[in-house]
C-alpha cells in the first residue's frame, strides 16, 4: 500500500507542476491587466499582492495657490491622487539624498522655506517671505504601496486605444464567418450524405484533400481576385463580406467533413420513413436534420468561431488596417509594435481579446472538446 500511495503522491506533484507552469503565464497577464500602470512598469506582477516600495518625484504647487496664515505664506496640497493607498516612508528634497527625512521631520530648503509632509502625501510648505516661483519645488518620496487593483486599464484600452472598436469588428468578422459556412456546409454535407448524384464520391474526396491544404496556397490568388474585383466594380477590395467569404472558404472543408461524419451516423431508415411520410429533402433537412444536429452544430460553431476570432493572417490580408476594420489580433500586433513598453495596454488588450474565447471555453467546454475530438479523426 505504501508504495502505491508514494507513486500517487509523486504523480500528483508532477501534475501540479504542469498545472502551475501552464496557468502562470495567463494568470500573470490577468493580474497585470488589473494593476496600476505605474506599478506595473516597475515591479513584477508576482509582487502585486505584497506592498511595494516605490520612489517617486513630485512637484509641489507654485505661487498661485499660496495663502497667508499665522504670519507665514503657505502652500498646501497633496502629492497623491485620491485614495492611492500609498504610505510615505521617507522623503528628500535633493535628488542625491532622497531618504534624508522621516515623516514629521521639517525639511528646510536653501531659501529657508520649510516643508512638512504626512504619510498620506499631504504637505504644508511655508515661508516667511512670499513665494515667487510659478513652479513649486520637487519632493522625492519613498512610499509603500499596498496591493491595489483597478479597472482603469480596461477603460483606457477599450475607449482610447481602439480595442473596443476592434472587439466589435472582430465580432462582425467572426459571427458571419461562422454562420455562413455552417449554413452552406450543412446543405452540402446533407447532399453528400443523403442525396444521390453523379460525382458525389469525387466531391467527397476533394473535401478530404482540401482538409489539409494550407491557407497559404490560397492567399495570393484570392488577393488578386479581390483586387481585380474591386477595380472592376470600383469598390474597396478589402471588406467585411470579402473576409467572411475567405473564412467560409478556408473553413468549408473541415465544417463539411465534421457535419458529414455526424449526418452519416443518423439512421438511414429514419430518412426513408420521412420520405415515405411525404417529406421533401428540404422538409427532412428542416424538421429532422436540424433538430437532431444541434449538438454537432454547437461543436462546429465553437471550433469555427474560435478559429475566426483568433485568426490573424486572414484579417491582415483581407481587411484594411484602419480603425473601422482592424480586428483584435491585428490591433494587438500593432500595439506590440507601437506600445511595446506599455504593458498595461498590452496585457489588458490581450485579456480583452481573450474574454470571448475564455467565456466559450468555460461555458461550452464539453462541445468544444467534442468537436476537437471528432475533428481529430481527420488527421
Amino acid at each position: 500500500m505504501k508504495k502505491i500511495s508514494l507513486s500517487s503522491i509523486l504523480s500528483q506533484l508532477l501534475l501540479l507542476f504542469f498545472v502551475i507552469v501552464w496557468i502562470i503565464p495567463t494568470f500573470g497577464l490577468f493580474i497585470s491587466s488589473l494593476r496600476d500602470k505605474d506599478l506595473l512598469a516597475i515591479s513584477g506582477w508576482w509582487t502585486a499582492l505584497t506592498t511595494t516600495e516605490i520612489n517617486e518625484i513630485y512637484r509641489m504647487s507654485g505661487m498661485e495657490s499660496q495663502i497667508e496664515e499665522d504670519g507665514y505664506f503657505k502652500i498646501k496640497g497633496t502629492l497623491f491622487e485620491d485614495n492611492s493607498g500609498k504610505k510615505i516612508e521617507s522623503f528628500g528634497i535633493n535628488s542625491k539624498k532622497i531618504n534624508e527625512f522621516k515623516i514629521g521631520d521639517i525639511a528646510i530648503f536653501k531659501d529657508e522655506s520649510e516643508v512638512i509632509l504626512d504619510e498620506n502625501g499631504n504637505y504644508e510648505w511655508r515661508s516667511k517671505s512670499e513665494f515667487q516661483k510659478k513652479k513649486g519645488k520637487r519632493l522625492f518620496t519613498t512610499s509603500l504601496s499596498p496591493p491595489s487593483f483597478t479597472f482603469e486599464n480596461y477603460r483606457e484600452v477599450l475607449f482610447k486605444e481602439g480595442i473596443g472598436r476592434a472587439f466589435v469588428n472582430t465580432m462582425a468578422v467572426a459571427l458571419p464567418s461562422t454562420l455562413i459556412p455552417l449554413i452552406i456546409c450543412s446543405f452540402f454535407a446533407y447532399s453528400l450524405t443523403w442525396m444521390r448524384f453523379y460525382g458525389r464520391d469525387t466531391l467527397l474526396a476533394i473535401i478530404i484533400a482540401s482538409l489539409v491544404v494550407p491557407l497559404q496556397m490560397s492567399l495570393i490568388p484570392i488577393l488578386t481576385i479581390y483586387n481585380d474585383f474591386g477595380a472592376l466594380f470600383g469598390v474597396a477590395a478589402k471588406s467585411y463580406p470579402g473576409v467572411w467569404m475567405a473564412h467560409t472558404g478556408f473553413g468549408l472543408a473541415s465544417t463539411t467533413f465534421l457535419l458529414r461524419n455526424f449526418l452519416k451516423s443518423l439512421p438511414n431508415e429514419m430518412m426513408e420513413a420521412a420520405k415515405v411520410d411525404g417529406a421533401s429533402h428540404y422538409d427532412i433537412f428542416l424538421r429532422i436534420i436540424i433538430p437532431l444536429s444541434i449538438p454537432a452544430f454547437a461543436s462546429i460553431f465553437i471550433l469555427q468561431f474560435l478559429w475566426c476570432w483568433n485568426d490573424l493572417l486572414v484579417g491582415l490580408v483581407f481587411l484594411d488596417q484602419v480603425p473601422s476594420e482592424i480586428i483584435l489580433t491585428a490591433k494587438l500586433k500593432e500595439l506590440l509594435g507601437s506600445r511595446g513598453e506599455n504593458w498595461e495596454i498590452l496585457t489588458t488588450g490581450a485579456f480583452v481579446s481573450m474574454t470571448v474565447p475564455l467565456f466559450i471555453f468555460f461555458a461550452l467546454q464539453r462541445y468544444f472538446i467534442r468537436g476537437l475530438v471528432a475533428g481529430s479523426v481527420k488527421g
Binding site: S8, L14, F18, W22, I23, P25, T26, G28, L40, S43, G44, W46, P176, I180, I184, F187, F188, M195, F197, A205, I206, I208, A209, S210, L211, V213, P214, Q216, M217, S218, L219, I220, I222, Y240, P241, G249, L252, A253, H281, Y282, D283, N310, L312, L316, S324, T329, L332, K333, L336, L346, G349, M354, P357, L358, F361, I369, V373, S376, K378, G379
Partner: protein, 327 residues
C-alpha cells in the same frame, strides 16, 4: 462605417444565405410533385441548389487557388511573364529561405513531438487523480486563446530590462534571483526559436491532452486490471499496454499538430517578425506578398514549399478514405 451599419451588413450577409436556401427550396417544393418528369427534374435541380454555394466557394477559395499558385510560381513578380524555374532557383539560393526551411524543420521536429509527449503524460496523470479534470481544463485552456494573445502573454514572460532595473519578466526575474545576468531572450539567435516554440507547445499540449483523454477512456478497463493482477508495475503497464494501444491516436495527434505547425505564422509575426533568425516559411511568404510591391512568383514558391509538407498527409488521408469507402 458606424457600428450600426456594421450590424446591418452582418445581419444582411447571414440573411442572404438563409434566404437563398429557403426561397429556392420553397419554390421547388411548390413546383414539384404531380408528374414523374417534374419530380425527377425537381430532384436534380435540388441537388444543384444544395451543392452550388459550397461548391462555388470551394472552387474559388481552394481549388482554383491551388492551380493558380502553381502557375504563378513560374511567372514573374506581377504574374505576367513566364520565367520558368527562376523563382525556384532564387529560393534555393536565398539565405533567408534556407534559414526559414531550417527553422520550419526544427519546429516540425520539436513542437509536435513535445506536445504529444506532454499531452500523453498529462492525460495519464490526470486520469487517476481526483482533481484531474480541473487540471486538464487548465492545461487545455490555451487552446482557446489566439496565437497573438499567447504571444503577448509570453512576451511578458520573456520581457527584458537592463541589469540595473527590476525585472518584470518572470523568466528574467527567476534568472536574476538565481544570480545570473538577465537576458533579452528573443534576440539570441538559435535559442530564441526554442522560446517561440515553447509558446506553441504550451498551446498544442491541450489539444493532445483532450484527444488522449478520450482515447484513454476507451481502453478496456479489464485489460489494465488483468495486467495488474499479473503483477505488472504501473510504468510497465504504461509502456507495454497503454502506449501500444494508443499508437493510432499518437499518430493522429502528431500529424494534426504537424499540419498546424507547418503553417505557423502568427506567433513569429507577433513576437519577432522573423528577426534574429526566427523566420519561418509562412512569414517569409507573407513578407514577399507585400515586399517591394509584392512578388507573386516568390510568394507562390514559398506557398508551394509549405504545401509539399502536407502532401504525404493528404495522400494518407485519401488512402484511408478509400479504404473506408470500400467497406
Amino acid at each position: 462605417m458606424t457600428i450600426l451599419n456594421l450590424l446591418f451588413i452582418v445581419f444582411l450577409g447571414i440573411l442572404f444565405f438563409i434566404a437563398y436556401f429557403h426561397i429556392s427550396n420553397y419554390l421547388l417544393d411548390s413546383y414539384g410533385g404531380s408528374s414523374v418528369k417534374r419530380y425527377n427534374f425537381e430532384n436534380s435541380i435540388r441537388v444543384i441548389v444544395f451543392i452550388a454555394p459550397a461548391f462555388i466557394v470551394l472552387f474559388i477559395f481552394i481549388l482554383y487557388p491551388v492551380f493558380e499558385t502553381i502557375r504563378l510560381s513560374f511567372y514573374d513578380k506581377f504574374g505576367r511573364e513566364f520565367v520558368g524555374l527562376y523563382n525556384y532557383k532564387w529560393a534555393v539560393n536565398d539565405p533567408e529561405f534556407r534559414r526559414s526551411i531550417l527553422n520550419n524543420l526544427v519546429w516540425l521536429l520539436v513542437v509536435p513531438t513535445l506536445s504529444t509527449f506532454f499531452g500523453l503524460v498529462i492525460a495519464n496523470l490526470a486520469d487517476r487523480i481526483w482533481w484531474g479534470s480541473i487540471a486538464k481544463s487548465i492545461i487545455f485552456m490555451p487552446m482557446a486563446i489566439s496565437f497573438v494573445g499567447a504571444g503577448v502573454i509570453w512576451k511578458f514572460i520573456y520581457e527584458y530590462r537592463g541589469p540595473d532595473n527590476t525585472q518584470i519578466g518572470l523568466l528574467n526575474a527567476i534568472i536574476v534571483s538565481l544570480g545570473y545576468e538577465p537576458q533579452a531572450w528573443l534576440t539570441i539567435p538559435i535559442w530564441n526559436n526554442f522560446f517561440l516554440m515553447a509558446i506553441m507547445i504550451w498551446i498544442q499540449t491541450g489539444l493532445a491532452l483532450v484527444i488522449f483523454s478520450a482515447a484513454l477512456r476507451s481502453i478496456p478497463k479489464e485489460m489494465l486490471e488483468a495486467a495488474r493482477i499479473d503483477g505488472a508495475s504501473e510504468l510497465k503497464i504504461f509502456f507495454s499496454i497503454i502506449i501500444p494501444y494508443l499508437e493510432q491516436t499518437i499518430l493522429v495527434i502528431w500529424t494534426l499538430i504537424t499540419i498546424i505547425v507547418l503553417r505557423i505564422f502568427d506567433i513569429i509575426f507577433a513576437m519577432t517578425n522573423g528577426e534574429w533568425q526566427t523566420g519561418v516559411l509562412a512569414n517569409l511568404m507573407y513578407d514577399w506578398m507585400f515586399r517591394g510591391g509584392g512578388d507573386s512568383g516568390r510568394g507562390s514558391v514559398l506557398a508551394i514549399v509549405i504545401m509539399i509538407g502536407v502532401i504525404p498527409i493528404l495522400a494518407w488521408n485519401l488512402y484511408k478514405h478509400r479504404q473506408e469507402q470500400k467497406i
